[in-house]
């Protein structure tokens, strides 16, 4: 009998995102209202994505406008980059890696394992939710700009 996916399964990803940004980046993000992915056609400039497998399969992504990604990653790495340098891309991959790694500890019932991160760069790209999955988006606001966390899960 597959385990059911519920809205509260997104919570570990939300708390992990808050903790990661607070502790590792040094900014406190405020989560906004959770949205169903289906209802939100959102465009981004840079996204970090990690695949999830185990008793639940899915993916977690953090997505930024370009300027916000540069500002946040500069703060994270104490860098001074002006554009989407390779180090900014690495930092986005590293942030989503930490977020997914911490969140899986609170989802032990699904025995989740995480993949390596992929980083997407492209003005106005969209991330499609996987078919038949529960897909949510949580907007966050920070002093350095806003970003989105997207989580898709499906029992396996």
């Amino acid at each position: 009998m597959p385990l059911a996916i519920r809205v509260e399964h997104v919570n570990p990803f939300v708390s992990s995102t808050m903790e990661t940004f607070t502790k590792m980046v040094g900014i406190e993000p405020k989560p906004g209202k959770l949205m169903l992915k289906k209802d939100s056609k959102l465009n981004y400039d840079i996204s970090g994505i990690i695949g999830l497998s185990g008793m639940a399969k899915g993916s977690v992504a953090i997505s930024f406008p370009k300027e916000t990604a540069i500002a946040i990653c500069n703060k994270f790495m104490s860098g001074d980059y002006k554009d989407l340098h390779a180090d900014i891309l690495d930092a986005v991959g590293e942030l989503v890696n930490i977020i997914a790694g911490n969140a899986k500890k609170d989802l032990t019932e699904f025995s989740i394992a995480i993949s390596l991160p992929s980083v997407i760069v492209g003005a106005n790209h969209q991330i499609a939710e996987p078919k038949d999955s529960f897909s949510f988006v949580v907007p966050f606001s920070t002093a350095l700009g806003g970003f989105h966390l997207a989580v898709s899960l499906k029992p396996s």
Partner: protein, 157 residues
Amino acid sequence: MASPVKVEHINPFVTATAETFKSMLRATVTPGKLMLIRGNKLQSDISGIIGLSGGAQGSIILSFPRITALKAVSEFIGEKVLAIDETVKDAIGELANIVAGAAKKDLTQYKISISLPTVIIGDGHEVQGGKDVIPMAVPFESPFGPFYLIVSFKSEA
């Protein structure tokens, strides 16, 4: 310092891509020379990503120009598609899923499990890996046009 993905970890995905195009799309595809994605501006319009975890961690990405994707999906579903819609997104995700599933049989020692496919849509987007490993790209020629397979793979052993 990260090192590039090993050829022996890339080959199962190259074979699986060729097999998948043969069986699902009745098409013969030809892999080209392995290349680094960093610094090579490999731009695509639609990409299907599958995460790999277990005794190894990684991801594979099938990355297409719009025209290649539309022609390949038309063959896949047996119906002409003219624009990137829900059907095309699902089909690209499914192709990546089949390739990852097929490659698992040549990598059994790693007990790999695969994630759900994530599909990216965006004109001219680029895909990069994280900093743990340097991903490699394999350019493919197909009757539908060119596309890329990008592999990130890191084994614990």
